[in-house]
Symmetry: C3
Subunit: 345 residues, 3 copies
C-alpha cells in the first residue's frame, strides 16, 4: 500500500513522498523500511526509522518548519492512534483459517454449520447447534447442545461454550474462555447447601471480545448478557444474571457478582470487585482494584477505592491519611500548650 | 407435576387449585403458564403470572385476606427459596448424558470404568485410573494416571485432573478446572530457584462443586483437601497443602496460600486473599476483597478489610476516616483558639 | 540411595548410620521408614519417624549432646530446605513420559519435532513449528503455527500456545496456560472501540515455570518477555509488552498491565495489581494485594498497600489508623479544656 493510498484511506494530509510502499505497522522506536508508525502527541521529540509516520496535525506543521524536504513522509490526522489502528486492520487483516471441517471434529448430525466455516481438530459441536458463516472454531473448542454462534466469529483453542448459549456475529473468544458454566447459587439447609437452579442462558451480542480464561456464567433462571461492542480482558469473572451494556471495557481479573448491571459505555479497571445487585451507570469509570458494595449505585464520574468513592474524595482522603502523623503531633503539642495555660506557673 | 403434589413434596400448605400442571421453575417477574416461582419475603408486593407461587407462611395468610378465591395457588413454607431450590431439582433433574464411551476417547487398558459412565469425545483416562458408576467425563477432559473419581460426578469439558488425585462421589468440576497442578514452592540458591518437591496429592471429598477455571494444586509432600459439601466459585486458587473443611463456601477469584486451613462452615467472599499457614475457624465469615495475613487465626464472626478486622471495627474505622477532614479542621481551630488564649491582646 | 551417598551428594556432615536405604522424601511429621525429611531451624523440638534428617549444623551439634548413639542419622548442612529440594530432585526425577507421538495427534507436515519427544493424544502442532528434544506435549495441548519450543520442556494438558510464540529450554507450562492471546488494546472512536493491532509475540526464556490457567498476552507490536528462571504461579495475568526479568517470582492471581517492566530478582506477592508502564527495580519485594499505579517506579525494598508504600510507612500508617479513635477523643477533650480556659467561670 502506498503512502498516498494510506493518506487517502485515513483522510489525512500527506507531506512528502506519496509513492513509498508500506507493508506493515511498527512501533515508533523499532520501525524500519516498509513500516508505518504513529506519533501520539505533538510535543514528542521523534527519532524513528519508520518509512512513514501518522502524526497529529500540529506535529506536521512544526516539522515542516524545521526539517528539510525529502525526510520521512508524514500523514497528519486528528487522532493518530485511532488512524494507526484503522490502517493496521487493513495491513494486517485477521488471518482467517481456510474454510475446512477437520476430519477429527465431532459434529452432531443435527447441528447446522454455515458456509466458509473453519472447524479445527478435536472440536465438538453438539446437537441442534448452529454455527454462522465464516466463523472459525479453533482446535479443541467444545460447543455444547442448542448453542447458536453467529457469523464471522473466532473461537480460539480450548474454549468451552456450554448448552443453550447464544453468541452474536464477529465475536472473539480467546483461548480457555468458558461461557455458560453454572452460576454460583446455593440455599443453606440444615445438612449443607442445596443448589439453586442454574438453568438460564448466556447471550453475547455482536462484536464482543472476551480475553483468555475468562468466565461468563449462565443465568440462574433468566440470562446473563454482554452487550454489543463490549471488550473484556483475561481472567474476568462474570456471574449469573449480570447484564453488561454496550461498549463497556473491563480490564483483567475483575469480578462482577450476580445480577449486577453495568450500563453502556462504562470503563472498569482491572481487579475490580463488584457485589451483587449493584448498578454502574452510563459514563462511570471505576479504577483498578476498586470494590463496589452489593446494591450500590455508581453514578457517572471517576470512582476509586474500596468501597468506591469519587476519585477526588479518594485523593483527599489519602492526603489526610498521609498527614495523620503530623496531625497527631499537632494534637500532642496543643495538649502541652493547654497544660501550660492551665498551670501557668 | 401437579400443584398438590408439589405441596406434598415440599410439606407446604396449599391454598388454591391443586390440579394445575407445573412443568418448570421460573423467575417471579418472567414466569408464566406452567411455571412455579417463589416469593422470598412476606412484605413484597407481588405481581407475577406464575402458575403457582411458593411463599412464606405470613404471605399466604395476608394474601388470603385480600385476594378473591380462584387466584394463583400458593404453597406456604418456612423457607421459600430453599423449597424452590428443592422443587427445581425435581422438575429439572441434571440431564445426565446417556452412558457411552465415545470412540475417540483414549482410555488406558489398565483403567477401570464403572457402569453407566459417559466418556465424551477426546477424553483421556490414564493408567490405573478408576471412574465410578454414573460419572460423566465430558468432551476434552484429561484424567491422568492413578486418579480415582467416584460415582455420580460431572467432569465438564476441558477439565484436567493430574496424576494420583482422588475425587469423591457426586463432585462437579466445571469447565477448565485444573486439579493437581504442582504447588508453587522454590528454594533460592545462589543461581536461582530450585523447585521444592511437589509430589503430594489432592483429595476432593463428596458433593463438592468447583467453578470454571479454578485451580487446586497438589500438596508439596502431603495432600491438599477439599471437604465434603464445599462449594467453590470460578477462578479460585487453592494452593498446595491447603485444607478446606466441610460445607465451606468460597466466592470467585479468591486465593488461598499454602498450608492454610479453613474449618467447616466458613463463608469466604470473592477476591479474598489469604496468606500461608493461616487458620479460619468454624463460623467465620470473610467479606470480599479482604486480606488475611500469613499465620493469622481468624475467629468466628464477620471479618472485613486488609488486614482483616471484625466488621464492626472496620466500619468504625471507616467512619473515622470519613471524619478525618473535620478532625483536621477542629485541630486547626483549637490551635487558633489556644493562640488567642496565650496572647490575649 | 544410602544415607552416606546422600550426605556426599549434599556435601553435608553425616552423624549416624551411613548404610540406611532412602527411597523418598517426606514431611517431618508423616515421614517413616525409607523417608528423608528436613528440619528447617535449629530450635525446633523434633519428633519424627523419618529414616534420616537433613538438619542445620547447630541442630546436629545440639542433638549429639542429648541423644544416645544409634538414633536417626543426621546430615548437617547450611541450608536444609535447599538441600532437601536438591535431594528430592534426585530421588523423584520428573517422570518424563516415554517418547511417543500419539497416533491421534495432528502435527503439520511442515513442523519439526526433535528426538525423544512425547506428543500426547489430541495434541496439535501447527505449520512450521519446532519442538525441541526431550520435550513433552501432554494431552490436548494446542501449539499454533510458527511456534518454537525448546528442549526438555513440559507442556501440560490443554495448554494453548498461539502462533509465533517462542519458548526456551526446560520451560514448564501447567495445565490451562494460554500463551500469546491478543493483548487488550483498543482505540475509541465515535461508534465504539477499534482494536489496536496485537501482532507481536511472546518470548519465554529458559527454565521458566508458569502455573495453571495463567495467561501471557502477545505484544501489541513488539514482544512480551519472561526472563530466564522466572517462576509464575496460577491464574496470573501478564499483559502485552510486559518485560519480566530473570529469577522473578510472582504469586497467584497477580496482574501486570501493559508495558510494565519487572527487573531481575524481584519478588511479587499474590493478587498484586500493577498499572501500565510501571517499573519495578531489581531487589524490590511487593506484598500481596498491593497496587502499583501506572508509570510508578518501585525502588528496591519491601513495598505494601495500595498505592504501594514502603512497608515501614505502611505499618506506621496502619498504626495511626488504629489510633484514630483515641486521637478523636483527645481532640474532644482538648476542646472542652479550652472551653473551660476561655470561660473560666
Amino acid at each position: 500500500m502506498k503512502t498516498k493510498e494510506i493518506a487517502e484511506f485515513l483522510r489525512g494530509e500527506l507531506t512528502g513522498d506519496g509513492d513509498i510502499e508500506i507493508v506493515r505497522v511498527g512501533a515508533l522506536d523499532t520501525a524500519s523500511q516498509g513500516d508505518i508508525a504513529y506519533v501520539e502527541k505533538p510535543g514528542l521529540d521523534v527519532n524513528s526509522n519508520a518509512a512513514c509516520l501518522i502524526v497529529p496535525t500540529e506535529f506536521a506543521t512544526a516539522r515542516a518548519e524545521t526539517r528539510p524536504v525529502g525526510s520521512v513522509p508524514l500523514i497528519a490526522v486528528a487522532d493518530p492512534k485511532l488512524a494507526f489502528a484503522q490502517i493496521a486492520e487493513v495491513l494486517h487483516p485477521q488471518t482467517g483459517r481456510e474454510p475446512e471441517i477437520h476430519q477429527s471434529a465431532i459434529i452432531s448430525e443435527t447441528a447446522k454449520i454455515g458456509v466458509s466455516v473453519f472447524v479445527g481438530p478435536f472440536v465438538c459441536v453438539g446437537e441442534k447447534s448452529q454455527i454462522g458463516d465464516d466463523t472459525q472454531l479453533c482446535a479443541g473448542a467444545k460447543i455444547g447442545d442448542s448453542v447458536r454462534i453467529g457469523a464471522g466469529c473466532v473461537i480460539h483453542p480450548n474454549v468451552v461454550v456450554e448448552d443453550n448459549c447464544v453468541i452474536g456475529d464477529r465475536v472473539t473468544l480467546h483461548s480457555g474462555v468458558v461461557i455458560g458454566a453454572d452460576g454460583f447459587g446455593y440455599v443453606r439447609d440444615k445438612n449443607g447447601y442445596v443448589k439453586f437452579p442454574q438453568i438460564g442462558t448466556v447471550v453475547i451480542e455482536n462484536d464482543v471480545e472476551i480475553g483468555a480464561n475468562s468466565c461468563v456464567d449462565r443465568g440462574a433462571l433468566g440470562e446473563t448478557r454482554i452487550g454489543e461492542g463490549t471488550k473484556i480482558d483475561n481472567l474476568v469473572q462474570i456471574a449469573h444474571n449480570v447484564v453488561i451494556g454496550k461498549r463497556v471495557v473491563i480490564a483483567a481479573q475483575t469480578g462482577i457478582s450476580g445480577s449486577t448491571v453495568i450500563e453502556d459505555d462504562c470503563v472498569i479497571g482491572g481487579q475490580v470487585g463488584m457485589g451483587d445487585h449493584a448498578r454502574v451507570q452510563t459514563g462511570a469509570v471505576i479504577g483498578s482494584q476498586a470494590g463496589v458494595l452489593p446494591g450500590k449505585i455508581v453514578r457517572p464520574g471517576v470512582w476509586w477505592g474500596t468501597p468506591v468513592q469519587p476519585l477526588d474524595e479518594y485523593k483527599r482522603q489519602n492526603a489526610h491519611l498521609k498527614g495523620l502523623a503530623r496531625l497527631k503531633d499537632e494534637v500532642k503539642e496543643l495538649k502541652s500548650e493547654i497544660t501550660k495555660l492551665s498551670h501557668p506557673d
